[in-house]
Amino acid sequence: MGTYIARRLMWTPVLLLIVSFITFALGQFGPGDPVQILMGQYSDPEVVERIRKQKGLDDPIAIQYTRYIGNVLQGDFGESFQYRGRQVSELLGKRLWVSAQLNLAGLIISVSLGITIGLFAALKQGTWWDSAAVSFTLIGQSLHIFLTAPVLLIIFALKLDILPTHGWEGFFSLNTILPAVVLGIPGIAIMTRLTRASTLDITGQDYIRTARAKGLPERIVRTRHILRNALIPVVTSLGFSLAGLASGSFIVELFFGIPGVGLLTIESLFARDYPIIMAVTLLGTTLFVLANLVVDLAYPYLDPRIRLRGNYVAR
């Protein structure tokens, strides 16, 4: 197992280097000369040439890439093309904080509701509560943001007029409710399904029968023996759902006009603002890879039955 962890930890930086190089190369391949965009339509070719030299844009791609990565390791993501003179790190910092809050709100909704409904359904197995919960998970997984966002907007913002339609005013404001709910709905379904399945699995175990047989009160059996064990797979899945939320947050941010990373990324894609695109890709990939790493490494601690083998086990 030691070798497994060592291999994973050694492979991760290599993986990140390759990913960043691919993004960098694709950025070079893409159309549009960044300096030309920067200077606008009526630019002096000589000035353009000078700026290109100054920024080192004429160097071979390998040299440009090495220089870029060197800067990134010192926390310098370069300067944005579209917002002239602004540092990418400064632009991203604020946006990241907004997106992080939005994702946290979505996660809180899907985890709290999902676990509650899942546990409830499993403990009431066979009743209509259970069937209702199962049908909900089936439908909920298919409820795409493209449907939930407009429907909830129409009901709560336009018809009832109790929630704002768009904008961002911090975590604790009415503006957060609609986007967070929209972001959380698919997660509720997944969490419910997972919690229900694992709870049913645990309830059938011998040690639960033993616990009941030795006369433990039902409350203790449920909290100490069922709940604790049932939540193991749910907790491990959090890492994945965090990564999954990121793309949903993209759409939600655009739909509700929330100034997060998603909005910035799309703006940058259209403006060919490569420093920002590079930075977002690097950060996103790093988070994603690290989340997967943590989840993989956390498995054997949460469930000692899983033993990681020395050779590389594909997920």
Binding site: W11, L15, L16, I18, V19, I22, T23, L26, G27, F29, G30, P31, G32, L138, I139, Q141, S142, L143, H144, F146, L147, P150, V151, L153, I154, L158, T165, H166, A243, G244, A246, S247, I251, L254, F255, I266, L269, F270, I277, T281, G284, T285, L287, F288, V289, N292, Y312, A314, R315
Partner: protein, 319 residues
């Protein structure tokens, strides 16, 4: 009596695992209903020019943003174009993208590379799995987003030069470039899941004695792979197809919604949702947004249900 029964059973041709699974699937009413809906949607997409009541770009400015009526069952959009027609042509886009992506990415690349990685192991396995992990470590459709944003304009320029020099003018107009770039970008993103699945199965299958026996009597590697290994790894592939199609369809719609997928006037559900997704439309004519969104959700829902049904039918013990 007993002997007669045994004999008739022997006379009957034995059923393969796939046939048995399909029978089990056939008995599930819900899955068959889902399958029928999917066939209906894909069929109307394939035969769009025959099924659709109007042309997808036919504008009628005398009836703009109308609700459902007899002549326009799903209403009309801001240019007086028939919504039903546009949905049907959007489904054609979905059909083209999902089929090309699935066949090239998951089926051709995924299965082949999975077979190779699992069967030969060693360095080939290492290379294929590492390359796959690189593509899989881009969060969600980010890789596709970047590929489409950077590569498509380049290819578009090439095709334009090609059109100018040959006098052909329909390649860009019909949106073929969009279709190809997006399908292939999605394929590059989606092959790894399938390859990993197949590889895992092959690792088990190749240890079986029938593989060893076949090798012992001198079968070529290709024959072993095609006749003994492939048929035994195919069922998880079938099970994963439904979810794969749903994923690709959603990805295309999200890309088109962002404005870097299918370009108007070629219809796509994503383009339709984007065009009608603003607040003023939601306030005055919500059906313009809800129709394409609803079609997307029905598509996802039937794919998910069908996927569950197929899973139950092919893995009857794993319930």
């Amino acid at each position: 009596m007993l002997q007669g029964e045994v004999l008739t059973n022997l006379d009957r041709p034995s059923r393969s695992y796939i046939q048995l699974s399909l029978r089990r699937l056939y008995r599930k009413k819900l899955s068959i209903v889902c399958l029928a809906i999917i066939v209906l949607m894909y069929g109307s997409g394939i035969f769009a020019p025959l099924v659709a009541p109007y042309g997808y770009n036919d504008q009628d400015l005398t009836k703009v943003k109308q609700g459902p009526s007899f002549s326009n069952p799903l209403g009309t959009d801001r240019l007086g174009r028939d919504m039903l027609t546009r949905v049907i042509y959007s489904l054609r886009t979905t059909v083209i993208i999902t089929v090309i992506s699935l066949v090239t990415g998951s089926l051709l690349l995924g299965i082949t590379l999975g077979l190779l990685a699992g069967y030969f192991g060693r360095w080939l396995d290492g290379i294929i799995m590492r390359v796959g992990e690189v593509t899989a470590s881009f969060p969600d459709i980010f890789l596709v987003l970047i590929i489409v944003a950077t590569v498509k304009p380049r290819i578009l320029t090439w095709v334009h030069t090609f059109e100018d020099s040959t006098g052909i003018d329909w390649i860009v107009r019909l949106g073929i470039v969009d279709y190809l770039v997006i399908s292939l970008a999605l394929a590059a993103f989606s092959w790894f899941g399938m390859a990993r699945l197949v590889r895992g199965q092959v690792l088990q299958v190749r240890e079986n004695q029938y593989v060893e026996a076949s090798r012992a009597i001198g079968s070529s590697t290709l024959r072993i792979l095609a006749i003994h290994v492939l048929p035994n790894v195919i069922s998880p592939v079938i099970v994963s197809i439904s979810a794969g199609l749903a994923g690709i369809a959603t990805a295309e719609i999200v890309l088109s919604w962002l404005g870097i997928g299918i370009q108007p006037p070629t219809p796509s559900l994503g383009v339709m949702i984007f065009e009608n997704g603003n607040l003023s439309v939601l306030r005055s004519d919500p059906h313009l947004t809800l129709v394409p969104s609803g079609v997307l959700v029905v598509l996802l829902f039937t794919f998910n249900l069908l996927g569950d049904g197929i899973n139950d039918a092919f893995n009857p013990r794993a319930r």
